[in-house]
């Protein structure tokens, strides 16, 4: 059983943080705090100069990470060090250009070598995914697909049928960031996904309170939290470790 499949045996808490925010050493410490708090999957954001799917919180994290000199090479080394300490599934989340620039084949080989289990690429829709999928597949790295409330039934079926790892279900329109309400058709969306695939479905975008997480987990196999975590890092900087531990613990317990 893959690390990702294993992580979804119970309701999974998926935690996102931007790699290198405020620096690589801090990210390493934060990941271990989040693991200790009970998270099931970690997504490490590859900072990008122009993150068009992100709200202000993760945009600012990208700016901080790039200002600190974060590179793909630095993130590979980070994952390599984390792999010595934990068996938690580690995913990358990012935008296509840095990956394309590194070279698809080299990128996925390196992912497999250091122990990256999967990748989410925000600006790679299903139609364009073939050029990446072949390399991901050869290296045994799951390419995580996204579905959104604006995806029609035909798209959902197509995307879910080819899904590997888990399906990332976007909770509502817009960019990443905390919000109070979610799409009205979220339950139907989850049902449609589940009808087309056996891989788990996790909901992300906007979830930040234990109550929201608990409500989502009734329908979904997991919840993904990003901006709320990054906000803690924004507020406490290098001292955020303990606060992250407390927050993730509370969220995980709510599932």
């Amino acid at each position: 059983m893959s690390r990702i499949a294993n992580a979804f045996k119970d309701k999974a808490f998926v935690a996102f943080l931007t790699g290198g925010d405020p620096d690589i050493a801090a990210t390493e410490e934060f990941v271990m705090q989040i693991v200790k708090a009970g998270a099931d999957v970690i997504e490490i954001g590859i900072p990008f100069s122009d993150p068009i799917a992100e709200g202000p919180v993760i945009q600012s994290a990208s700016v901080r990470a790039l200002a600190a000199g974060t590179t793909l090479e630095g993130l590979f080394q980070l994952v390599s060090r984390l792999r010595q300490k934990t068996e938690i599934p580690l995913l990358f989340m990012g935008y296509l250009n840095p990956i394309f620039n590194y070279g698809y084949e080299a990128f996925f080989k390196r992912c497999a070598t250091v122990g990256v289990d999967g990748i989410i690429i925000a600006d790679l829709p299903f139609e364009e995914s073939a050029e990446v999928r072949q390399y991901a597949s050869v290296s045994g790295v799951d390419l995580i697909s996204m579905v959104a409330p604006t995806s029609d039934s035909a798209r959902i079926k197509q995307i879910a049928t080819d899904a590997t790892g888990f399906v990332y279900v976007v909770s509502s329109k817009g960019v990443t960031g905390v919000r109070s309400g979610f799409s009205d058709n979220l339950n139907e969306l989850l049902a449609e996904v589940k009808a087309s695939t056996n891989v788990p479905a996790a909901v992300g975008f906007g979830i930040h309170t234990p109550e929201q997480a608990a409500a989502m987990a009734k329908q979904a196999d997991g919840v993904i939290v990003g901006s709320a975590i990054v906000k803690i890092i924004e507020k406490y900087g290098r001292e955020a470790g303990e606060k992250l531990y407390e927050y993730v613990k509370e969220m995980k317990q709510a599932l």
Partner: protein, 397 residues
């Protein structure tokens, strides 16, 4: 031919955007395919272009300039004489009309220098659409008059404070807004860039430039020009100026990129000269980027050419050798701006001055039997204060 197959021009193009926008993009493509062959739609658009925007635009023989340069006859395609003062209106009227047909009540747009923002605000006012424009804070400070123009036209202008606060950041923010609200909103993208179908659709709307120019030069000269020249940022006036000449193998096509302070400096926006293949803003094309694939901040005296990428069809024309792209520095462009004003009495946009600069270099090498067409993409009123400052005069709008 470089016809579009799944949004591809060779390897370039495609549709690389978040899933949240895919449904809307697929719908837009289908609606555009339907209306582009719809006689009523085309008739309505032609009426708007002719009766409202003032088309066809003149193909003006710049006799004094031609004599002075002592070579080929130089013709200027006067897109600066269009309503709102640039070629941007051609695309905007097409997209705004399409948006209305699609049942949209609101349009959003990015703008750099403000020309596309003003054109979109204008079309929105005319067609009764709500309009919001996203503009980098830096650009807003550089182009105060255009910001106020948009306000006069009933548009809300949002200052973009993310990133380097210029054109590419305005595109980012407009895409984010579209992801948030697409059911009643169309994104009027201003150049031949972004995800399919935009590069194809914007090209089709701008192709009127070369459709007219080809006919006009045949009437005046009885033969095709030797060279067609246009400035290139994202590349909408250039593709419009090139398009109907692409099958004419004898016509050389030249795009002039903004080299800023020079292609050997970091302060440049010359994508073909200094960029490389990448995927950004929805398309696979050439981009200025660093060794780690981060999009580079770019610089040009011209806010309209200050973009780190180039439309995918241009990348293809470059790759296939059909068109040539040359860098033109700030200094060369400013000199050409001043030259055209003094020689022909035409104050052109600083963007267009990049194309004039190359025509000045080239005309003398050709014979008087040959002709060159240069696209004057816009008028230069907006640039006067910046040119004065470049020349050391403390002039502010």
């Amino acid at each position: 031919m470089n016809t579009n197959t799944n949004g591809r021009f060779g390897d370039f193009g495609g549709c690389y955007i978040p899933e949240i926008l895919m449904g809307e993009i697929v719908r837009l493509e289908a609606e555009y395919e339907r209306y582009k062959n719809d006689a009523d739609f085309q008739k309505e658009l032609t009426t708007l272009l002719n009766e409202y925007a003032g088309r066809p635009s003149l193909l003006y023989f710049a006799e004094k300039m031609s004599k002075d340069l002592g070579g080929a006859k130089v013709y200027l395609k006067r897109e600066d004489l269009n309503h709102t003062g640039s070629h941007k209106i051609n695309n905007v009227l097409g997209q705004a009309l399409l948006a209305k047909k699609m049942g949209k009540t609101r349009v959003i747009a990015e703008t750099g220098a403000g020309q596309h923002g003003v054109a979109t605000a204008t079309a929105a006012a005319l067609l009764g659409l709500e309009c919001e424009v996203f503009m980098g804070k830096e650009d807003m400070e550089r182009q105060l008059l255009n910001v106020y123009r948009m306000k006069l036209l009933g548009t809300t202008v949002h200052a973009v404070t993310s990133g380097s606060m210029v054109l590419k950041d305005a595109v980012n923010e407009t895409m984010r807004e579209w992801a948030n609200r697409m059911e009643d909103t169309h994104y009027v993208l201003g150049s031949v860039m972004g995800p399919h179908p935009f590069p194809m659709m914007v090209r089709d709307f701008q192709a009127i430039i070369s459709k007219e120019a080809r006919q006009q030069i045949l009437e005046k000269e009885g033969k095709l020009p030797s060279v067609v020249i246009a400035c290139v940022g994202g590349g909408s006036n250039a593709i419009g100026t090139f398009y109907n000449f692409i099958p004419d193998a004898s016509v050389q096509l030249i795009g002039c990129e903004a080299a800023g302070r020079g292609v050997d400096t970091a302060e440049t926006a010359a994508t073909v000269a200094t960029g490389r293949l990448g995927v950004f803003h929805g398309m696979k094309s050439l981009f200025c980027q660093d060794s780690d694939g981060q999009i580079a901040p770019v610089y040009s005296i011209s806010a309209g050419l200050d973009y780190p990428g180039i439309g995918p069809e241009h990348a293809f024309l470059h790759d296939s050798g059909r068109a040539k792209y040359v860098p033109v520095t700030d200094e060369e462009a400013v000199q050409a701006f001043e030259y055209l004003a003094k020689t022909e009495g035409i104050i052109c946009a600083i963007e267009s001055a990049h194309a004039i600069a190359h025509a000045i270099k080239l005309a003398g090498q050709l014979s008087p039997e040959e002709s060159i067409i240069v696209c004057i993409s816009g008028r230069g009123d907006k640039d006067v204060a910046a040119i004065a400052r470049y020349r050391g005069e403390d002039l502010h709008e």
